[in-house]
Symmetry: C2
Subunit: 355 residues, 2 copies
């Protein structure tokens, strides 16, 4: 632990949502203090953090003060404005580093990067206008899905193209933003691997979980996932390959489609991931602590799982079910402290533990 | 959940040490905000709480503002000044209630209360001066242990009397405070039960843990404890009896001596308890969340255990072992964020999980 931060050091976290909140609790458990940078007030992370800088990502003065208050900087989301990172990385270590952000902030760059590594990805092509969209459709076939290259999450900035007739509307949905067309992959189910890489280059992965989405939002993750021993090993090995190639430090989520021809990488997220929430009740060291250990230069937990878990997201009105869920045995509630319930908003999750 | 606090409500916690810290994290997990009342600055609980009132327990104005900021009040230690409680309970519900504090704040009252319930306790007698000490020794025999009636913890305010020669020094150690002499109990080992009682009167207990002390301070708790099925059932039943008799709301720790003649109650603590820290990594709902559920009027977790756990306290210089402990598999670190390491000071604990 030569480069390890001592307990009592301060971890800076960009973003004050539920991921920042659970990172902050994990950091406290290791004796660190935490400092949240988040423009919004009363944000979930601020409830469990030492300090909250409430300022815009364009506020250079606030960014400088934030950097001066912390020993290392990490983040809960990948779409941090480039100008903020340009400044911060001159002041304090930012982990994971810029390469992971550069690759994952742009779907086209990401797909190209993964394909160049020899990994299977969906057929894809860049789309700038009607003409390139036509060429892209010729390359990937239909149905396909048109996505903005940047700033998409939870199904936002996406449009399905089932037949040629859908093309104009899909293009209009992009509102002129650079886009990528992705061909459909014929998969049986989706799994994800939550992998971690330490400052010393060591890698540890949690067991793959099986994900079910609805309306573009993750609903459940079940561990263990339906995978053969060979698929399980492939999933973990390709995750390690990506982590090493990026010289990554921290936790990463890797979403994979399971097909008869093997695993196809859907996308990577350079941060703790919703599909890794099950680790809070299935592992001694969960994904949040694993991430903090990595960015603090501590040894990684081994990822060992001591229970089977089904994680279910609580979205919007699912909050009405909290009284009933609180009375369910073997069920751990994790609520995010968000003041307003909105349709599609992630309000919390439950982990159902099956020994 | 008629009287249940809704998520988003604020839990007030008197005391900002490690127990308040872990209560605060548990409250956040259920979507509550937390407000700590603690005279000390930079206290462990304030690192993970929404608000910290830094004021003395004699500061009526601060107590009033604290009460106005919260929906329910609980505490992490039993020695809260009576005047503060007198004021607070006129303003907001205080849980657990006064009866539990009245009984447990005074060792003589506590022993008498438990004995009156028909439970086995060590032989005891009140001590005010040299004369009553002599009479007490005649009643309990030697060796015995002289303790102040109030404000003792972690072996403080205690003196062993092995032979009559130790008597003057033991009495001097009490510094004139009212005391109690307790006869020795010939026990094979000590166990404790962490029990909880909800606002609706429901009771749930965690599996008994086996405790090892050194220098008057808890070192390890091992779960499961060495107990026969009958002893285990006795331990849980007598805990439920105490909880019901006190009309208790919250988590209580009950320490028991295991003797050939049965279980002898050592002491009760009207709060979450060091010997219940193992529940953080062995149960879906841990003792801290259980306490918050009770004081918030939520349903209790069932106390089910999904792993065997050995909890070890990190005391003083044990902090030097943190780098090595962080590299141990199946080991969960829980550090308290205390700035200064002192001999005998509880700095954190580890839970070693054995599936």
């Amino acid at each position: 632990m030569t480069d390890a931060l001592p307990t009592g050091a301060t971890i800076g976290i960009l973003g004050g949502g539920q991921l920042g909140r659970m990172l902050s609790v994990a950091a406290a458990r290791l004796g660190f203090k935490t400092c949240i940078f988040e423009p919004g007030g009363d944000c979930p992370a601020s409830h469990v953090a030492n300090y909250h800088f409430q300022a815009a990502y364009e506020d250079e003065d606030a960014l400088r003060k934030f950097a001066a208050s912390v020993d290392v900087i990490t983040y809960e989301f990948e779409n941090i404005p480039t100008s903020a990172l340009d400044l911060l990385e001159t002041l304090k270590p930012v982990r994971p580093g810029r390469e992971a952000l550069r690759v994952s902030q742009d779907r086209l760059t990401e797909k190209t990067y993964l394909a160049d590594m020899g990994l299977s990805v969906a057929p894809f092509a860049a789309v700038a206008d009607a003409q390139s969209l036509e060429a892209a459709i010729a390359a990937t076939g239909l149905p396909a899905i048109l996505k903005t290259r940047r700033f998409g999450y939870d199904g936002k900035g996406q449009a399905r193209i089932m037949t040629a007739e859908d093309t104009p509307q899909a293009l209009a949905d992009m509102q002129g933003a650079p886009a990528i067309l992705e061909g459909f992959v014929d998969f049986s189910h989706e799994v994800s691997v939550i992998g971690a890489r330490g400052l010393d280059g060591s890698v540890a992965c949690f067991d793959p979980g099986e994900n079910v989405h609805r309306d573009g939002i993750l609903r459940t993750t079940t561990v263990p996932a339906r995978l053969s021993a060979a698929q399980r090993s492939d999933a973990v090995l390709l995750t390690a390959q990506i982590l090493n190639r990026l010289d990554y430090v921290g936790v990463m989520g890797v979403e994979l489609f399971v097909t008869p021809q093997g695993l196809v990488v859907n996308e990577i997220a350079p941060r703790v991931h919703n599909s890794g929430h099950w680790t809070q009740n299935g592992c001694t060291v969960d994904q949040f602590e694993q991430h903090i250990r990595a960015v603090a230069g501590w040894p990684l937990g081994d990822g060992a799982r001591h229970a089977d878990v089904v994680m279910e997201n609580l979205i919007g009105d699912d909050m009405d079910r909290v009284p009933a869920l609180a009375a369910e045995p073997h069920t751990a509630l994790h609520l995010y402290g968000k003041a307003d319930t909105k349709p599609g908003r992630k309000m919390g999750h439950v982990n159902r533990v099956v020994r």
